[in-house]
């Protein structure tokens, strides 16, 4: 994708980016997925009762800086994440993509999108519903993720029990 400035972005480009990212996750190509992040990128999943919370003041489910996210990916691709051994099958549907050009810097783009992620494992189907909020960095002909926030609409993780894969 040849994207350099916010003004040149259209929804088709962004949707393509999100669909490609979803495919990497559903195919468990997590090493490639990690490369979509900036070196100061972050991945957040707030607790279900405080979806608008700040991870510095509110207990989250996941609040990974880049280093922690890299560990998570390394673990998930190894043998010792018992909760994902064998791996879940996941299928992501991403819709209602909206481009919000409200960022402070011209190279940064804010995106929101709705998600339904079905996770199938050991004869159970768990449906995770919510929305993504992305801060994307444009430049050098590609898009990188500065921040990826998966905000669940679920009010509890029941009966899901866990977020052991990348949401």
């Amino acid at each position: 994708m040849a994207l350099t400035t916010v003004d040149s972005v259209n929804r088709y480009d962004i949707e393509s980016f999100l669909y490609d990212e979803a495919a990497l996750l559903d195919e468990w190509r997590l090493d490639e997925w990690l490369k979509l992040f900036t070196s100061d990128g972050a991945y957040y999943v707030p607790s279900t009762d405080d979806p608008g919370g700040d991870h510095r003041t509110s207990l989250f489910l996941i609040a990974d800086d880049y280093e922690r996210l890299a560990h998570r990916v390394e673990q998930l691709m190894g043998r010792f994440v018992h909760a994902e051994t064998p791996h879940s099958r996941t299928r992501r549907s991403i819709t209602n993509v909206r481009i919000r050009k409200a960022s402070k810097t011209p190279e940064e783009l804010h995106i929101t999108a709705n998600f339904i992620v079905n996770r199938i494992r050991l004869e159970s189907v768990d449906t995770y519903v919510g929305r993504y909020e992305y801060r994307l960095q444009l430049g050098e002909g590609r898009v990188l993720i500065k921040e990826r926030r998966a905000i669940l609409d679920l009010d509890t993780l029941r009966p899901h029990g866990k977020v052991s894969f990348i949401l």
Binding site: D50, A63, H82
Partner: protein, 435 residues
């Protein structure tokens, strides 16, 4: 089996052979669950919440405590009540929001209105009760028969004859004090609740929460992470220095030298060179308040504390309060919170929450694998007729049991057995709650 009386024992506690076994029916039987509700959850002190969750007059929280929907409310009189969240008129839950602040609680169904002390203060068409013995006094919100708190932890009991909370907590108080003494100004529950579940019997989570033995295998990925990031304090293959303790009334703890850093005052390079001095200041403050020995115990040592029947306070990396309740024999609901000193700096708070998430919670590097393990146990229990007994004998022959032995679990099971059967297994066991 009968649900009217006590159940037969499901425990073998062989003091000669040093063998301890639990019949797996205890994890799968609906009759057992019915009895647990009767003899445990209707009788013991049950954790309801923390005073910081209802800090100001009018603050309230709704949640389930021992399966009951309740409103935990701080009234205008400053008293904290645990009130059944059901309208005395026809039953609707009165409050449906998870939390808020209000002078009143109003049932929308017919408009009955209660103040935040639970008193009925108004209803439409009250004159329809003329010439009856109906009174407002008889139609207030119903309070749990007993509510007491210890160092900020609010407990309710549905047994009006229960012994005082402090007597019930017995030896667990010492360990709660070690947690609550981390600050002079009091602890608070941080915003953000981890609400999750496991498709497993609730007692498996008791065993798991105080189990040192599973850590290196189930949580290998966590330990690989702390080794790789220079957070490990010692080689765990030589064992974990520490010990398990029975604390009376079924409460138990394992206390051990932390292999990991602790936000309270045990610095590791992972917390950042720039924070090192701050940690020394925090540690010195504890030494000033408590002397070297207790300060070391508070800051350096970890505690996995179980308070019978369904409260875990794990003061490990960060501190989690965890409580759970069985919906069916093979499914439980779990709530977990982070507990923290009220007066810590924004950077300390952020570090604590970050540290919590390295291990704890349904998205952490550890808890999902516990969920997996316990659900795997429950699936295995479908063979309970072919393989009847789980073994909990580890360390039973040792005079000085280790944190990765199972004394703490036997402590739970003995109390469980005593309340469920009405009989003590052996005369040497500590006395249970009066029922």
């Amino acid at each position: 089996m009968s649900t009217n009386g006590h159940l037969p024992s499901m425990i073998i506690d062989d003091q000669e052979k040093k063998l301890f076994k639990v019949n797996r029916q205890a994890f799968v039987s609906n009759d057992v669950l019915d009895s647990e509700k009767q003899y445990l959850f209707n009788n013991c002190w049950i954790y309801a919440g923390h005073v910081s969750e209802v800090a100001d007059s009018g603050d309230y929280r709704t949640r389930r405590v021992a399966g009951r929907p309740v409103i935990i409310s701080r009234g205008d009189d400053d008293k904290i009540r645990v009130m059944m969240n059901t309208c005395p008129h026809r039953g609707a839950t009165v409050r449906r929001e998870p939390s808020g602040n209000s002078k009143i609680h109003q049932c929308y169904y017919h408009g009955w209105t209660f103040n935040n002390e639970g008193t009925l203060i108004g209803l439409p068409g009250e004159n329809a009760y003329e010439n009856t013995e109906w009174t407002r006094e008889d139609n207030c919100l119903t309070e749990a028969p007993k509510v007491e708190s210890y160092r900020g932890l609010i407990f309710a009991s549905f047994n009006s004859n229960i012994q005082p909370l402090e007597d019930y907590l017995a030896g667990a108080k010492e360990y709660l004090d070690l947690v609550m003494d981390q600050t002079e100004v009091g602890m608070e529950v941080v915003g953000g609740t981890q609400e999750y579940s496991m498709k497993a019997n609730w007692k498996l989570l008791i065993e798991n929460s105080i189990d040192g033995y599973h850590a290196p295998t189930t949580h290998k990925r966590y330990f690989d992470f702390i080794v790789g990031t220079n957070q490990l304090f010692y080689d765990m293959s030589q064992g974990i220095p520490g010990s398990p303790h029975a604390l009376g009334n079924g409460h138990a703890v394992i206390e051990y030298d932390s292999p990991w850093g602790r936000p309270i005052a045990r610095w590791t390079p992972y917390f950042g060179e720039e924070r090192k001095e701050e940690f020394e200041v925090k540690k010195n403050k504890l030494v000033e308040r408590f002397g070297e020995e207790r300060a070391e115990r508070i800051s350096r040592y970890s505690r996995n504390l179980f308070i019978f029947p369904n409260l875990i306070v794990n003061d490990i990396m960060a501190i989690t309060i965890r409580t759970f309740f069985p919906v069916t024999p093979d499914y439980m609901e779990i709530r977990a919170w982070a507990l923290a000193p009220k007066d810590e700096s924004p950077d300390d708070r952020a570090l604590r929450l970050d540290n919590y998430l390295t291990f704890l919670g349904p998205g952490g590097y550890a808890t999902p694998d516990d969920v997996e393990a316990l659900e795997a146990c429950q699936r295995g229990f479908a063979t309970f007729r072919e393989l009847q007994w789980s073994d909990i004998s580890r360390g039973m022959g040792r005079d000085d049991p280790k944190p990765d032995d199972e004394l703490q679990m036997r402590t739970f099971w003995r109390q469980w057995n005593e309340l469920m059967t009405g009989r003590q297994l052996t005369p040497s066991m500590p006395q249970g709650v009066g029922i």
